[in-house]
Symmetry: C2
DNA sequence: CTATACTTTCAGTAGATACTGAAAGTTCCA
DNA sequence: TGGAACTTTCAGTATCTACTGAAAGTATAG
């Protein structure tokens, strides 16, 4: 097998049994983390979060250690500008936090550790940004087509009635989905687990 | 107020009371539908479905009438190629269907009418494409870092342990979420409403 | 106040994605 | 078999999004 490529092979570990094992472990750790980071990045992409942001978050989450901007730049091979903007966006979302280390001048970042909490935050934000506007639009559309606006005979035209019905179906759906979201978010940490348990028992 | 712009004002409705009302209703219907279509398109965009695909689907859903390729092109101002590809993709998803009209040569498309069913289809597909690979990756990563792979002392190094713990947290989350998805999908057509009711009662 | 260490911003660019339109393909009828 | 009606494909192009790198900004220490 070819030698694995390390960033400058300067300090090869002494070949004692203990050191060897420790070195291997570090290498393995790196590999596992990178694997996770890459996958998480891909997944974010499919959502609507861009790859880099998702990767930064994955990095902070998986290492479970506060990291500074340069750590992020180096590990993910991205520019300072990109790192800065993405970190800020993640802070805005609220799923990572700035923190200071005593005696350190630069800022560090760490991920929330509770996955359920992160999910709640994201779900709440998505509801606000996506569900709520749609719901409002549907209500507006229904109003435009109801009897009191159009008059009885016009409102009964076949195509008008059909559209009205479709709007009603969609509204019901969004309302119920919203309620479920609300439950998730309202019950934050413990909530999702409970949702799952309830569902499993009921079916 | 200025006259609203109609595509070629060829046939103005006769100015009887009945016709006037009918014309207004049609205009209003159009406006309401367009509003819905636009919003739905925006929302799709934030997901990962592109705007045009979402708009086509919205159009088919909201009119509740089978439409042919030219109808779609005209209504949404898009090219034939785009319409063709997007319609096919929607068919692949399974949320719209091809259909034939007696005596018509060209094909028509219609949206599923049951919103819950559409949601089930989409949820199932997203689970398969997004959750499942992540879960697999997490398991793989955990394996790389457990005692039987690394040996006792290496596995106990602080950073290795920390990462292992984070992986565990994420795995639990994905598992539970998957279960919930499963419920949604498994109970498909009739089910989602029931899921919602069960949840609402339980909380 | 000046130097140093660090962060943010943003114009420009690279890269990804969506869209068009015309040509090629298919189906069906006479 | 030819041709009309319709659909699909795809090379080329327009549009949008993400990223870089350097310049400007801010905070701290001496």
């Amino acid at each position: 097998m070819s030698t694995t490529s390390f960033p400058s092979m300067a300090i090869p570990p002494a070949p004692t049994a203990g050191n060897r094992a420790a070195g291997d472990a570090q290498k393995q750790l790196r590999t596992a983390q990178d694997l996770f980071i890459r996958r998480w990045g891909e997944m974010g992409q499919i959502w609507g979060i861009n790859r880099t942001m998702a990767e930064i978050h994955a990095f902070l989450y998986i290492t479970a250690q506060p990291q500074c901007t340069d750590d992020v730049m180096e590990r993910l091979n991205i520019s300072r500008g990109n790192a800065s903007m993405s970190l800020r966006a993640l802070c805005d979302w609220g799923i990572i936090r700035r923190m200071h280390k005593r005696g350190e001048r630069r800022e560090f970042f760490e991920s929330l550790s509770d996955v359920w909490e992160m999910f709640s935050i994201i779900a709440a934000e998505r509801k606000r940004r996506e569900m709520d506007p749609v719901l409002e639009t549907i209500k507006q559309c229904r109003k435009m087509l109801d009897e009191s606006t159009l008059g009885k005979s016009a409102a009964r035209q076949e195509d008008v009635a059909a559209t009205r019905q479709r709007l009603a179906g969609m509204e019901e759906f969004v309302e119920v989905t919203n309620t479920i979201f609300q439950q998730f978010v309202g019950n934050a940490k413990s909530g999702l687990n409970r949702v799952a348990r309830v569902l499993l028992k009921a079916f």
